[in-house]
């Protein structure tokens, strides 16, 4: 069985590659509309998920493969399942009424991008990590630009490409420096060894390498100084892809960072820890405060993404196994909440910028949509009994446990600010359900008729909302299991 184990261990990835290539070839032979490819993609994802579960059930497959370049363990399984789930939701949402946008290439690239995600999580060497990031990014640039009739799409794609490539090249330079400082680029058990063994100079260079590496990963995870691209790109890009880009890469990069830095990094490297702390605090404050000002819903969600990255970084600043577990649960909850919110924004204003005014009286126009949005937002805001609360609670508890009570306090205060703008949306949606909203300060646009939402998109939104609720009540035990 041993020589087969790599194939079995990586069966989900193999399925994805084959499906990706298959969809592309299939279209080359029968250039029909995107009808069949949709189902093939979903089937492939389901199969990949099944394989992942099978691999999880036979732990002897766990281990490091291909001379220390890929690792399959519990985190990988967790990542695979999450990516397949979110990927499936994105596919569902991009079914779209017009179907014009969802051509074969669209699904092919999406599958390849998903492959890139799981490669990132599984990688154990920096070069594989870099290749994984590119595999994730390139399809996104293309997908972003795919809906050409959309004025902003091409412009957003170009901006995303330029800054994305810039960031990855900067990261590459970091990899080079790391190779120079550490003589190795493999991080099977954490890239940065004990600083004492490295000696002062090489430790210094290692820190420089860490900065540049963090720049590359921070870009994808929209941490504070590296997030500037996200508001413009989210506001401009075509909806389903924006939802995908805003959620899945962030989760992948966070898990990759978890592997690269390893549990001991925070304790060993005070400079690194302080850097992450500052970035975390700035992300939280900046993200929430600026989000308060936004009128475009997707921009607001972009800034909320920045803030949530800040919360995620707490786990790195604190370090240790407990915070890693807390981070993973938070990632799941964030993924579904954020995805749901973006999809609702897409449903409210397909392929056009969506402003808060469009959400006025949404409850009257489509109850289920408003309900889904409310649940996702309240989960992101962290109100019990939704999953968001337990995610944030676990993180803050880890922070206080690690002696960073002040960090937890800042996080709590910024959460309150976050509730501010989440509530703004919720109160707009439900405000005029009973009495008509007087034309208040923002002069409510005439509330248009009922919003018709394509069935698969609504299914995706409801799934996200349900996930937030289930994660809240039952999923909490998941927190223990995910460990």
């Amino acid at each position: 069985m041993t020589h087969l184990s790599p194939v079995l261990a990586f069966s989900p990835e193999i399925v994805l590659v084959l499906a990706g290539a298959g969809v592309l070839c299939f279209d080359a032979i029968w250039p029909g509309r995107g009808r069949v490819e949709r189902w093939v993609t979903l089937a492939a994802m389901a199969l990949a998920a099944a394989c992942a579960v099978l691999v999880a059930m036979s732990p002897q497959l766990y281990g490091v493969y291909f001379a220390g370049s890929l690792r399959v363990d519990a985190t990988t399984t967790f990542a695979r399942l999450l990516f397949m789930a979110t990927g499936a939701l994105v596919v569902l949402s991009s079914w779209g009424g017009d179907g014009e946008g969802a051509t074969a290439e669209y699904y092919g690239l999406l599958l390849l991008s998903l492959l890139g995600e799981s490669v990132i999580v599984m990688s154990q060497t920096l070069i594989v990590l870099f290749v994984g990031i590119e595999m994730l990014a390139l399809p996104c640039y293309a997908l972003m630009a795919m809906r050409k009739h959309l004025a902003g799409a091409v412009r957003a794609a170009l901006k995303y490409f330029l800054l994305g490539t810039f960031a990855s090249i900067v990261m590459l330079y970091g990899v080079a420096l790391a190779y120079g400082a550490l003589h190795t680029i493999s991080y099977v058990n954490g890239l940065f060894p004990d600083p004492v063994t490295l000696g002062a100079v090489r430790a210094g260079l290692a820190m420089a390498a860490f900065l540049l590496l963090f720049a590359g990963l921070g870009f994808k995870a929209t941490a504070f100084p590296f997030h500037f691209w996200s508001p413009d790109v989210y506001a401009g890009g075509s909806a389903p892809i924006v939802a995908y880009v805003a959620t899945v890469p962030k989760v992948a990069v966070m898990l990759a960072l978890l592997r690269v830095l390893g549990p001991g990094f925070a304790a060993a490297y005070p400079v690194g820890r302080t850097f992450i702390l500052i970035v975390a605090v700035l992300s939280m404050v900046y993200g929430n405060v600026v989000a308060l000002l936004q009128d475009d819903v997707r921009r607001m969600l972009a800034y909320s993404g920045v803030a949530n990255t800040g919360y995620m970084l707490i786990a790195f600043a604190v370090g240790g196994a407990a915070s890693a577990r807390a981070l993973m649960f938070f990632l799941v909850v964030y993924a579904f909440g954020n995805l749901g919110a973006f999809l609702v924004a897409m449903a409210v204003g397909p392929d056009r910028p969506v402003s808060l005014k469009d959400f006025a009286g949404l409850a009257g126009r489509n109850g289920l949509l408003a309900g889904g949005m409310a649940v996702c937002l309240f989960s992101l805001a962290g109100t019990p009994p939704l999953g968001g609360f337990f995610g944030k609670f676990a993180l803050f508890k880890a922070a206080v446990d690690g002696g960073y009570a002040w960090l937890a306090l800042i996080a709590l205060v910024t959460t309150v600010i976050a509730v501010g703008y989440y509530l703004g949306v919720a109160s707009r949606m439900y405000g005029s359900l009973v009495q008509p909203e007087e034309t208040g300060s923002e002069g409510v646009a005439s509330i248009a008729g009922r919003i018709v939402v394509p069935r698969p998109l609504m299914a995706a939104i409801v799934t996200c909302a349900l996930a937030a609720v289930v994660l809240g009540v039952a999923g909490v035990t998941l927190l223990a299991a995910a460990g």
Binding site: L163, P225, V271, T274, L277, Y286, V289, L293, S427
Partner: protein
């Protein structure tokens, strides 16, 4: 019928009647009064039997309690406590109440809310009985305040009229202020002694340091002052006349106002122990004088009687203040009879003449002989003309004053002199009203119906006889009951002096009425009066009285209480944190931001400028409270956050190159800061 059961029946019956009428009153209409009067009659009989039982029985006749609540591990019991004092007062209250109830059936006939009137009236009587028979201070307070509620509802009975509403409001608030004293006293005592049972309390308190006892007395006396309308808390009594006359007849003559005096009597050993007596005497005598003087120039017949009640209560207080417990109780009982008689007859007069202004009433006596006679008997009793009850009780009060003089000549002396002056004035204002209203030529009025006349006549009879209950030699006397064994030393010459004082008052009243008629050109001018009395006695007194009426001290005192309250409320609403936040945060921070923007430093509008603006997050002069986002939901604090947000938002220039630049700049900056921090 054990005494305890009868004692329980006395308050229970009218309470039951009140409950019954509350539910079925509307349907019974006019017949609802029968229920009330029946219950009251039974209570009267029960109280008389109690009185008989209580006489000669050492120690309290009835002392039974039942657990009411357990607070902080302290069991609080409510129950009944009947001794000589309460039995005697009980009888007086029951008798007067019965008479007034009968009178009310006549007076209130045809009123729309007749059953409601008798419901509240019965509830009131039940509460008065409750106050008199309660064993624990907390229970007393409970009945005390419910009595306040009944007075609010009764005074405000004609709630269509704004003055009645105002009077009710004023009455409740003023008494409420006083009740706070009682509340604090009860809370303090319960907290310290873990019991509220009056006898045990009095025993415990005897052993207490003087200061604490003095404080408790002060608190209790505050409640008494407000209830018995002593100076300065008397302002509600004159206005309370806005209520129907039976209410004035019962509440503001015999029962409610007497409750204050009764409270002091009930806790008398405490007051004596803390030698708090002078503090009672001085306000008492001043109120007596003050009431009498104001009554002189009062034009409304009921307000005159109200000031007279205030004055007589002053008398009782001063008697208590000089150790004359028996005198006070005796005067309380007799006053209850003749004052309610006066009120009822005044009511009958008003009923006949349809006006309350004595200047418009002329010669009522001719056409309403019985009312006239009753009023005369009441007036004689009040002035203290022997052999009526008033004479004996007022004499007892003056005797106690004289007794005090023997102990402290200055203190007692002044009290006695002022007491006598007030006696003269009392006689004077009573007969000024009598002569003015009942004597001389008058229009035709027809006598009030029998239902009103009968109780008046009965009360008149009792007033004549009441003096006897405390004759020194008598075997069954009030003194015997209250202070068995204390020999009451009588001062025969004092009786003579007080009788003369009363007579002088009557004579002056007669002369002044003739003088007034003369002034109005309706009668000859008596030559001797001007020279002899006018100069010496009449002019200054009238001047003072007129001055006081213009001064309208009531209004001033009222504002003394209301002004600080309005100021406090104004301050509170300005202090409201909501207002505070907007003032401090929204405008304050706004002004700071605006000033900062004014010195808008533009160095090189290149890289440094961008970083500078972003870093500072200065709210560039834009409208500060721009309620974007959450519609300005969170107040001042949000304003600050918004400004910070607007500052940071400027980083989002939209230029790709800028973004790359910011990534590198901030990345390196944070790295250096981290390096510096963690070195």
């Amino acid at each position: 019928m054990t005494p305890t059961l009868t004692a329980f029946l006395v308050p229970a019956l009218p309470a039951a009647a009140a409950l019954f009428l509350a539910v079925f009153g509307r349907r019974m209409g006019e017949r609802s009064s029968h229920v009330a009067i029946g219950a009251l009659a039974l209570s009267l009989i029960a109280s008389v039997s109690l009185l008989v039982g209580a006489f000669g029985h050492e120690g309290p006749l009835v002392h039974a309690t039942v657990p009411w609540a357990v607070v902080g591990g302290v069991p609080i019991e409510f129950g009944l406590f009947v001794d000589g004092l309460s039995a005697s007062v009980l009888v007086m209250v029951a008798a007067v109440a019965t008479m007034v109830f009968v009178y009310a059936t006549g007076y209130m006939k045809g009123d729309a809310r007749y059953p409601w009137f008798f419901t509240v009236f019965s509830l009131f009587t039940a509460c008065m009985f409750g106050v008199v028979t309660s064993s624990s201070l907390l229970e007393l307070m409970l009945f005390w305040e419910v009595m306040g509620l009944c007075s609010f509802l009764l005074i405000g009975y004609y709630f269509e009229r704004p003055d009645a509403r105002r009077a009710a409001f004023k009455a409740f608030i003023t008494t409420r202020i006083g009740d706070m004293g009682l509340l604090l006293a009860v809370a303090l005592l319960l907290g310290r002694y873990k019991t509220v049972d009056i006898p045990t309390l009095l025993a415990e308190l005897a052993k207490e340091p003087k200061a604490f006892m003095w404080m408790i007395c002060a608190l209790l006396f505050a409640a008494a002052v407000s209830k018995s309308a002593q100076f300065p808390m008397y302002i509600w009594l004159p206005d309370a006349m806005a209520g129907p006359t039976p209410v004035s007849g019962l509440l503001h003559s015999a029962t409610m106002v007497a409750a204050g005096v009764f409270l002091v009597c009930r806790a008398y050993p405490l007051f004596v122990g803390a030698d708090f007596l002078p503090m009672i005497a001085w306000p008492g005598i001043f109120t007596a004088l003050y009431g009498a003087v104001l009554a002189l120039t009062e034009t409304d017949i009921k307000r005159t009687l109200a000031y007279s009640t205030m004055s007589q209560l002053g008398y009782m207080m001063v008697a208590l203040g000089t150790g004359g417990l028996v005198a006070a109780v005796f005067h309380l009982i007799t006053h209850g009879f003749f004052k309610s008689l006066l009120f009822l007859s005044a009511g009958s007069v008003i009923h006949g003449t349809k006006t309350q202004d004595i200047r418009e009433m002329r010669g009522v006596g001719k056409t309403m002989p019985i009312t006239g006679a009753c009023f005369l008997i009441g007036a004689l009793a009040l002035s203290g003309i022997p052999p009526l009850a008033g004479f004996f009780s007022k004499d007892a009060v003056l005797a106690s004053l004289l007794g005090a003089t023997t102990v402290q000549p200055v203190f007692g002396g002044t009290l006695l002199v002022v007491g006598l002056m007030t006696a003269v004035l009392s006689a004077f204002y009573m007969f000024r009203v009598y002569f003015g209203v009942f004597r001389g030529p008058g229009r035709k009025y027809h006598e009030s119906p029998r239902a009103m006349i009968a109780p008046m006549v009965a009360l008149a009879g009792v007033t004549v006889v009441a003096g006897a209950i405390n004759l020194p030699g008598l075997r069954v006397s009030l003194a015997g009951m209250l202070e068995p064994g204390v020999v009451e030393h009588a001062f025969p010459w004092l009786m003579a002096v007080s009788a003369c004082a009363a007579g002088a008052g009557v004579y002056i009243a007669w002369e002044s009425t003739r003088l007034r008629r003369a002034l109005h050109g309706t009668g000859p001018i008596p030559p001797n009066l001007q020279r002899l009395y006018g100069g010496v006695f009449l002019r200054p007194v009238f001047a003072v009285s007129r001055f006081l009426r213009e001064l309208n001290l009531d209004y001033i005192l009222e504002n003394l209480v209301v002004a600080p309250v309005l100021w406090l409320c104004g301050l509170a609403s300005r202090l409201d944190p909501d207002v505070l936040y907007t003032a401090v945060f929204v405008n304050g921070v706004g002004r700071v931001a605006a000033s900062l923007a004014a010195i808008d430093v533009t160095v090189v509008d290149g890289a440094v400028m961008a970083v500078g603006r972003a870093g500072l997050g200065v709210a560039r002069g834009s409208g500060f409270v721009d309620t974007r986002g959450i519609d300005g939901a969170v107040d001042g604090v949000a304003g600050g956050t918004m400004a910070l947000g607007r500052g940071l938002k400027r980083l989002q220039t939209g230029v790709t190159a800028n973004y790359a630049l910011f990534m590198i700049v901030f990345g390196v900056a944070i790295f250096y800061v981290a390096w510096w921090l963690a070195r």
